[in-house]
């Protein structure tokens, strides 16, 4: 067997899996999104794109995902830096704490937030006792609740991506910067941050795509009055049985995420190039 054939044989299982489990369904979805009773049609796309209700859902999905990405980066980068600088034992514990949310079921985790954020939950009642908010104040069923819940779930993806990169930064670079007169913050800003950008980009990609397509957390924390695109797709599939419209929405989600990501990647790629 030649090298080429061996390589092919090695890559085949992966390709087959990708083809059967990903490419084929995506193609089916594409076909479904343009099929109508009389063959080819774009009516599902025009229905979505000409209705301010659905455009609002799309905009909310993109906006919240961007916000969630930004917040995870703001928390994840310092956290990863501290983890990288701490001893192996402490790092192990910190890593455990960071990935702990991923080890509980999404439903249980979300119900925990409902208990904390609901109308009679700990946080709103505390704020109410302090006289800061009105009687019916609640964080649940708001966009803030979605952001809080999603940041908790997605933080490990950002932190661990950044951690890997920060760990590989040569410590002597920072020492050199400090001996040359940089303050701590300036060292971070001019040396560590630029060098860890690939980790932040990779983490940001993961967080953005995961939050744009997430469904359970937004539907439980946001309620039925605050729709995101994934929830709207779910409704179309399970409630109104408009599968073609659901497929069209899925294509729009896919294209929308791609439109955001391509410039992001090319900018990030130039910075690193």
């Amino acid at each position: 067997m030649t090298d080429r054939l061996e390589n092919m044989a090695l890559v085949m299982p992966g390709l087959l899996l990708l083809g059967l489990a990903f490419i084929l369904p995506v193609l089916q979805m594409l076909v479904l999104s343009v099929s109508g009773p009389d063959g080819f049609t774009l009516e599902h796309f025009t229905r979505f794109l000409s209705d301010s209700y659905y455009l609002g859902i799309l905009w909310r999905t993109v906006r919240l995902s961007a916000l969630i990405t930004l917040i995870t980066a703001l928390i994840g980068f310092p956290l990863a830096y501290i983890m990288a600088k701490s001893g192996p034992r402490l790092r192990l514990w910190l890593t455990l704490i960071v990935i702990l949310p991923l080890m509980t079921s999404v439903v249980i985790r979300t119900f925990g937030w409902i208990v904390l954020l609901g109308r009679s939950g700990m946080i709103p009642s505390m704020l109410r006792d302090l006289g800061l908010v009105g009687r019916s104040f609640s964080i649940i069923q708001t966009e803030s609740a979605i952001v809080i819940g999603m940041v908790q779930v997605l933080l490990p993806f950002m932190t661990l991506s950044v951690l890997g990169v920060v760990m590989s930064i040569d410590g002597r670079l920072e020492e050199a910067a400090r001996t040359m007169g940089c303050s701590f913050m300036k060292t971070i800003r001019t040396v560590v941050l630029p060098l860890s950008l690939p980790g932040i980009v990779a983490g940001g990609l993961l967080v953005f795509t995961l939050s744009a397509s997430s469904f359970v957390t937004p539907s439980l924390l946001g309620g039925s009055r605050i729709q995101v695109l994934a929830g709207s797709i779910y409704n179309a599939v399970t409630q109104t049985l408009e599968w073609e419209f659901a497929a069209a929405q899925a294509v729009i989600l896919f294209v929308g995420v791609a439109l955001v990501l391509v410039p992001y990647l090319s900018v990030a790629g130039r910075r690193n190039g």
């Binding site: 209700y53 009679s120 019916s136 609640s138 309620g223 039925s224 009055r225 109104t240």
Partner: protein
């Protein structure tokens, strides 16, 4: 994809049905039930008594109404079910398509005491309703300033921030909404008055939930006082230790009829009729009301005062029952859900 799965499922269930049919050709009755606590009560109140009385064996396939209807339709040429239960009005379509066999009332003695509206079209094949989920108002008996008596009380500002509405993706939520629509001047052709009312309620501070357990949560933790929903769920709340009462609105009580139907072209007709007879018997319905608080359809069913308070019972309780046309609901569902989603969106 879904279709393939359904076919596979049909194939498997058909195989298992054939296998069991081969063992006991005459003495097996195949039915569907709805799973969970419902199926438990179904077994205790109807299926086990039936087996004891006839010596026949009952095969239960767990399938909700829409699924069950799809299966019966797919099996038209070789039906596998003897008895099929529907809760969403599917029997109307099934009867017109000839999937159900007409029922000879003379062979079902208990039918004589069943309310007229629950057996209106048995001769056409629409099986009788053997229990009813009645939609009324569940309220907090300790905190509500006064017990609601009519549907328009929902609009009372006293309840504003303590009102829980249910999304119309939920079947009971749909019936509750159609009732709110009706008392505000709407019809099945025009749901705008209902949507306008919901907008007002939301502005006043009402909450919308999409699943029934969330109602329990709102009552337990978030100081909810009033929720239009089904009588059986009021009982669920009370069993959970919450001070919940159930009232029927004066303007009427939307009913979700659960029917027992005989599938056409099956060999066990007498056995199937016997099963229907037991389903509509006073004993079975008392048992069902005791267990789950579904309302009986047999006028001879005798309920204890405690159970009667939770269901539509007696002449007065039953008088107000009304049924929104299930065919109209199905035809409009997609459009209504979209209009509803737009109305409640923030």
């Amino acid at each position: 994809m879904k279709l393939d799965f359904a076919k596979m499922f049909l194939g498997v269930s058909a195989l298992s049905l054939m296998a069991s049919a081969a063992v006991a050709q005459e003495k097996t009755l195949t039915i569907n039930s709805f799973g969970g606590a419902y199926e438990e009560a179904h077994r205790a109140c109807i299926i086990t008594p039936f087996e004891q009385e006839t010596g026949a064996k009952v095969e239960i396939v767990t399938a909700y109404s829409a699924d069950a209807f799809a299966q019966v339709r797919a099996q038209k040429d070789a039906p596998q079910f003897d008895i099929i239960h529907f809760s969403g009005g599917q029997e109307i379509v099934a009867a017109t398509e000839g999937l159900l066999a007409p029922i000879d009332a003379a062979k079902v003695p208990n039918l004589a005491n069943v309310y007229d509206f629950a057996k209106a079209n048995v001769a056409k094949g629409e099986g009788p309703a053997y229990s009813i989920a009645a939609i009324g108002m569940i309220y907090n008996t300790e905190k509500a300033p006064s017990a609601p008596t009519k549907w328009t009380d929902i609009m009372d500002p006293a309840f504003a921030e303590h009102l829980v509405l249910t999304d119309i993706s939920n079947g009971y939520g749909m019936l509750g909404f159609l009732m709110i629509n009706q008392v505000n001047g709407g019809t099945l052709e025009n749901i705008q008055p209902g949507l306008d009312a919901v907008t007002k309620l939301l502005e006043a501070g009402a909450i919308i939930v999409s699943k029934s357990p969330e109602i329990q949560q709102e009552f337990a933790q978030n100081d909810a006082w009033l929720a239009p929903y089904a009588s059986d769920y009021g009982y669920t709340l009370r069993k959970a230790g919450l001070p919940a009462g159930f009232v029927q609105g004066e303007e009427g009580t939307p009913a979700s009829l659960i029917t027992v139907n005989m599938v056409a072209n099956r060999p066990n007709e007498d056995l199937a009729l016997k099963f229907i007879d037991i389903s509509v018997s006073p004993e079975a319905q008392q048992c069902f009301a005791d267990a789950l608080r579904y309302s009986p359809t047999n006028s001879k069913a005798e309920l204890s005062a405690e159970v009667a308070a939770d269901v539509a019972y007696g002449e007065d309780g039953v008088k107000g029952l009304l049924r929104f046309d299930p065919i109209a609901i199905e035809a409009n569902r997609a459009a209504w859900v979209e209009a509803w989603n737009k109305t409640i969106a923030r």
